[in-house]
């Protein structure tokens, strides 16, 4: 095998239900806080929705964006902008040729709030009242386009759309952009802003959401025997990727190495996971192999673990299928217990959390895990956080999406 350049992470950004920055979010994660809260919106009652809570953004983008940026962008692009600016600044705002800077930002649903608000405008007030920026705001590539405009990135701006794997897939796409020589540095991540009655009603109609309305903070409980669905979240997470050589040449600080990438598709069912986890396990094995690692080198997995009854078991089966007996010595965590499920931003946020786990050598605990489902035979970290060993370590981040998309990212210490 020829030596391919190591791709490293030099910047992190996030706006999440736990905080307006990566630091605030990580602090919330280590403290075991839940980002779920009652939805303070008229439409829950208006449409008599079966779910009245969600993991809404901790800090509205209005706090950091100019008024006109809020006005002219769908929330999905606003969140991406907030996270991308933080990540770019964290990377030291590199001054490099615009033609060498790329963007890859995924989203599951895109500008659904704009789409539906403008549909309301059309029906209630007529075509003349449809906002002239409706189309550029609602399109799924609006976040990547907006971030590319903001950073002046001209190597290419790409949008991965693979439901809840979108953000992780964007990071994989970004790594391949760098490997193929198309860009020297890529801003990559995911964003989602689906806090609207229709997505809530839609997910509720497929019985994917927890209905623990009387106790939102306890609703997202991956691996717990009483889990009853995921908690809808929103936000964005973005990282800055470049080759190790490029990062060192400009004196950048390096968090970790994006060492491996595995992708597969189930071709099993449009939404249900393949129960034995064949596809997901192939993605995990490929991520480990492409990182040049052995299965026994993986010392932590940040799981997709959405808190759905079927999904958590399927992933656990997939992990065991991929790792065999090594499974017992891999501490697994489900951070969606705190952040909720950020859909197209979930994989990106969990990649950020995995990077921080490797960087700080600590696995945050899964919250709300009172009684481990006997069908889950994993070493799930709950309650106390757990330290990771010194030396060269590697961790895996899993993301799966409706459509049968499986993405695994391998993160290695520097």
């Amino acid at each position: 095998m020829t030596t391919t350049p190591r791709i490293v992470v030099t910047g992190l950004g996030a706006t999440t239900p736990l905080g307006g920055t990566v630091a605030e979010t990580w602090e919330g994660i280590l403290a075991g806080r839940s980002g779920a809260r009652p939805l303070d919106v008229p439409w829950v009652e208006q449409y008599d929705l079966p779910v009245s809570f969600a993991a809404t953004l901790a800090r509205p983008p209005e706090e950091t964006l100019a008024k006109v940026e809020v006005r002219r962008n769908d929330p999905s692009a606003q969140y991406a902008l907030v996270a991308a600016r933080e990540a770019w600044a964290d990377a030291g705002s590199p001054e490099i040729e615009p033609e060498r800077i790329g963007v890859a930002i995924g989203t599951g649903i895109g500008g659904v709030q704009t789409l539906l608000e403008q549909w309301d405008n059309l029906r209630e007030k007529g075509p003349r009242r449809v906002f002239p920026l409706a189309v550029p705001m609602l399109m799924a590539n609006s976040p990547s386009g907006t971030v590319s405009l903001d950073l002046g990135a001209r190597a290419g701006a790409h949008t991965t759309v693979s439901a809840c794997a979108s953000g992780a897939e964007a990071m994989g796409y970004a790594a391949e952009m760098i490997r193929s020589g198309r860009a020297d540095i890529v801003v990559a991540g995911g964003t989602e802003a689906a806090m609207h009655a229709l997505p809530v009603a839609g997910f509720a109609a497929m019985q994917a959401l927890s209905t623990r309305n009387d106790d939102p903070e306890r609703a997202s409980r991956p691996y717990d025997v009483d889990r009853d669905g995921f908690v809808l979240g929103e936000g964005a997470a973005v990282i800055v990727l470049e080759t190790e050589e490029h990062a060192k040449a400009r004196g950048a600080k390096i968090y970790a190495v994006l060492a491996g990438l595995g992708m597969s598709s189930d071709a099993h069912h449009i939404t249900a996971p393949e129960p034995e986890g064949a596809g997901a396990s192939r993605a995990m094995a490929e991520a480990v192999e492409s990182a040049g690692l052995a299965l026994s080198d993986i010392s932590h997995i940040n799981a997709h673990a959405t808190s759905t009854p079927v999904g958590d078991v399927a992933e656990a089966n997939a992990i065991r299928r991929a790792f065999g007996d090594h499974t017992d010595s891999i501490p697994v965590t489900g951070t969606k217990s705190m952040t909720g499920h950020l859909l197209g931003a979930a994989g990106a946020l969990e990649a950020v959390l995995t990077i921080l786990s490797v960087h700080h050598r600590v696995v945050p605990g899964t919250i709300n895990l009172d009684n481990l489902d006997p069908a889950i035979t994993l070493d799930v970290v709950s309650g106390e956080q757990r330290a990771l060993p010194d030396g060269d370590i590697a961790a895996l981040n899993n993301s799966f999406g409706f459509g049968g998309h499986n993405v695994a990212l391998a993160i290695r210490s520097i």
Partner: protein
């Protein structure tokens, strides 16, 4: 009640600021939307849509291209408002 020129100018300046971020104070009667204020055609449409709602006027698409300066817009709104 119909708005006078000053009121229309102030209302228009507020819309321009909200839609483009341009300082409301720089929206003066003799300024050209494209040459002086650097407003592109799509942003101009967002201003038109909001001005229609705010002032209760209809500004047909064919008319928009004739609104070269802020004064053109103010005059059009003043003479066509309901």
């Amino acid at each position: 009640m119909a708005a006078n020129e000053q009121e229309i100018l102030a209302g228009l300046a507020e819309i321009v600021n909200e839609e483009t971020g341009i300082d409301a104070a720089s929206v003066e009667l003799d300024k050209s939307f494209t040459e002086d204020l650097d407003i592109d055609s799509l942003s101009m449409m967002t201003i038109v849509v909001n001005a229609e709602e705010k002032f209760g006027v209809r500004i047909p698409d064919d008319e928009v291209k004739n609104l070269k300066t802020v004064r053109d817009a103010v005059t059009y709104i003043q003479s066509n408002q309901g």
